[in-house]
Amino acid sequence: MAYEPQYYPGATSVAENRRKHMSGKVEKLREISDDDLTLVLGHRAPGSDYPSTHPPLAEMGEPECSMRELVEPTPGAKAGDRVRYVQFVDSMYNAPSTPYFRSYAAAINFRGVDPGTLSGRQVVEARERDMEELAKFQMETEMTCPALASLRGATVHGHSLRLPEDGLMFDMLDRCRKEGDVVIMHKDQVGRPIDKKVNLGKPMSPEEAAKRTTIYRVDNVAFRDDLEVIEWVHRVFDKRTTYGFKPEN
């Protein structure tokens, strides 16, 4: 019998969305071109070569090693790319993803990634082209709403602040703006102005965000109503506690 990953408990839409994010089976909602992605990430000029920190692995004469034979290097590792980052901030007001679910999605579905999970932001470090593959995936799919989530390398403040009238999560550095019915980004991740405005696509409506979110909220899907998740948390808690008390059990 083939193993079917279950990913996450719960009987609500939030739990279902969490399973989707973890499985990688998310809906693509928009297109971001490679050059646009490069611009907003801000690590190199669009069209330029990937800077490298070592020659391609094929040219390095690697030592004989069973692990190296077993594990196929990622494209970025093969090419000798430097390690770069992408960092997302997701609003508490029904942003589609949350830091832990971005991390789970990255760790489960991508190779060679190093996710870091905080409360207001979530960072993934990887070889540059591997990171870009992940960033593009997350930006183009239902994991991201351009109004309720944004790329912020530094000065990330805003995930828990009230929304302004235009619905764009507060950003001290004003990296994104609403223009017409789309969100544009005119600064890169760390707030440096970029040469052109990058169209990040249409924001989700409040109803759509509520439907796609992975965060429990009392005004949408209340945490206390997802009894299976609470029961599962209690089970984890019981096991961890009693294990420390009586390891032989």
Binding site: R18, M172, H234
Partner: protein, 572 residues
């Protein structure tokens, strides 16, 4: 119950977020609104930031070298792109600027730590036995009074025994003194009142009986060396300074020979055998002396704070004052400065003792417990509920979900606790303290803390920062472990406990959970009766019965600290 309840933070949120402060244009709206206008007014919207900006400009002009300049922030985008709002110290109506809750800007915070660091408790009985049994010198209440008068001259830096000595100026060390206390009521009656911490007077009768039973007829000195000495040196100096002056005072008061061998016994008693430090010495990798904050066990912090003797009927209040004191010392000073650096730790810490958000959560829990568990949150020992995992799960889950829903129903509270670590501290301190109050068991409370962290993480898909989450995911596993270097009774754990050593936002909560267990039972002390009694003293500059009020006085520039140098510097 939850929705009908008037939130304790409502008034503070209304003033912070619907009334203008300075020129921040934060006028109108409701504290339940999910949208707001951001005016991006910069630092000029806030009175304290303006004062600081002006001071920075004057400094640059005066010294010819630039200093504080808010336009250096984010390449010319200053703080204040959102409204800069003031804060209220929880449990008070005192509104303060948040900058004034950094300990550098707050003399009361500095003095709280000074008063702990410069305190040491020294037994008198060992010295008296040496005098009586070895030297045949009679010790009477009269000789003790004479000795204490001598020591109150010598401890601040007055000379005894020797000629042509340098002395400290009394006006610079006016906060230095020693008092004694004893469980022997007959002896206490004979001690000059100026020298006595009177247990019967300072504590409610029930607590006084507990304390006297705990310490028996033993006698102790609570010595506070000068603040200025403690600031120049470190916590390790406290017992050394005290022991030198105690030794000299015994020689003088009892007309001993300065070189006789018995002096070594007195010295040994004062330096080692009869000494209670407020904080234990830390291991070499942290390289701190005794009486530094990393060595202060949570039980000691619970005993240093004195709310339990002035408001014993309200265990939640007792725990909340310990949260304030603990977060300030452990987070802002210990982790924020000794172990790390910069200014960021203040934001974590103040969330737990400002704007009544934690207070509301904990008092909700008290009502919940009293309703469901037949008054188990009231002070007492016969009313406690048995500490089981089912009880922990029930109380901590209800507490956590109530607190989380407040952030969702009142977006201004979410904006106030704008970081996940702030929310995690507040929610877990409420859950843990509530379990402690209900069960009278600090480790059960700690268990509630960890469950709260799990629930919070799963509800919001986020918790705190990397290290925060790491420690809170593995902590439950050692809640019930008493193996060395893994677990301990919470009273005996402290900031240097392996899993807590870099654990910002937690240690004040742990101290509160410790204190809540004992306040819930009506205990006179958490772990050390001597520490509890030593700080039951109105002469200390910092009032340990109300730390949060004192922090407000510091922020409002109303607090009068000790150890000032104005006597010996040019007048301005």
């Amino acid at each position: 119950m939850a929705d009908d309840r008037k939130r304790m933070f409502a008034k503070h949120m209304e003033i912070k977020y619907t009334k203008e402060h300075g020129t921040n244009k934060m006028e109108g709206g409701e504290i339940t609104d999910m949208t707001v206008e951001y005016h991006r007014l910069g630092v000029d919207q806030n009175p304290r930031k303006l004062e600081m900006k002006k001071a920075g400009q004057e400094l640059a002009k005066k010294r010819g070298l630039v200093g504080y300049n808010p336009m250096m922030h984010c390449g010319g985008i200053p703080l204040g792109q959102r409204a800069l709002t003031p804060s209220f110290l929880s449990g008070t109506d005192d509104m303060v600027e948040i900058d004034d809750l950094h300990y550098v800007n707050n003399a009361a915070m500095q003095q709280m730590w000074d008063d702990i660091r410069r305190t040491v408790i020294v037994g008198m009985d060992m010295a008296h036995e040496t005098l009586e049994k070895r030297l045949g010198i009679e010790v009477t209440p009269e000789t003790i009074n004479h000795y204490l008068e001598t020591l109150n001259h010598a401890l601040p830096g007055g000379a005894v025994v020797q000629e042509h000595m340098v002395e400290t100026h009394p006006a610079l060390v006016d906060d230095c003194y020693v008092k004694m206390f004893t469980g022997d009521d007959e002896l206490a009656d004979e001690i000059d009142k100026q020298f006595l911490i009177d247990i019967n007077k300072e504590f409610p009768a029930e607590q006084a009986e507990q304390l006297k039973a705990a310490i028996g007829k033993s006698s102790w000195q609570a010595a506070h060396i000068p603040t200025i000495v403690s600031r120049v040196t470190d916590g390790g100096q406290t017992s050394r300074w005290m022991a030198m002056q105690v030794g000299m005072s015994f020689i003088s008061a009892y007309s001993m020979c300065a070189g006789e061998a018995a002096v070594a016994d007195l010295s040994y008693a004062a330096k080692h055998a009869g000494v209670i430090q407020m904080g234990e010495m830390l291991p070499a990798r942290r390289a701190r002396a005794p009486n530094e904050p990393g060595g202060i066990p949570f039980g000691h912090m619970a005993d240093i704070v004195q709310t339990s003797r002035v408001d014993a009927e309200d265990p939640a209040h007792v725990a909340l004052e310990v949260v304030g004191a603990g977060c300030m010392l452990y987070d802002q000073i210990w982790l924020g400065s000794y172990m790390s650096g910069g200014v960021g730790f203040t934001q974590y810490a103040t969330a737990a003792y400002c704007n009544n958000i934690l207070d509301d959560n904990l008092y909700y829990n008290v009502d919940y417990i009293n309703d469901k568990y037949d008054g188990a949150a009231n002070k007492g020992t016969d009313n406690k509920v048995k500490a089981t995992l089912d009880v922990v799960k029930d109380i901590a889950t209800e507490s956590t979900i109530y607190g989380l829903e407040n952030y969702e129903k009142y977006p201004t509270t979410l904006e106030d606790h704008f970081g996940g670590s702030q929310r995690a501290t507040s929610l877990s301190a409420a859950a843990g303290s509530a379990v402690s109050i209900a069960t009278g068991n600090g480790n059960a409370g700690l268990s509630g803390w960890y469950l709260c962290m799990y629930l919070h993480k799963e509800a919001l898909g986020r918790l705190g920062f990397f290290g925060y989450d790491l420690q809170d995911q593995c902590g439950a596993t050692n809640v019930l472990s008493y193996q060395s270097d893994e677990g301990l009774a919470l009273e005996l754990r402290g900031p240097n406990y392996p899993n807590y050593a870099m654990n910002v936002g937690h240690q004040g909560g742990y101290a509160a959970i410790t204190s809540a267990a004992h306040a819930g039972r009506g205990d006179a002390y958490a772990v050390n009766p001597l520490v509890k009694i030593a700080f039951a003293d109105k002469l200390l500059p910092f009032d340990f019965t109300q730390p949060r009020k004192e922090f407000a006085r510091g922020a409002l520039r109303e607090f009068e600290p000790a150890g000032e140098r104005s006597l010996i510097i040019p007048a301005k």
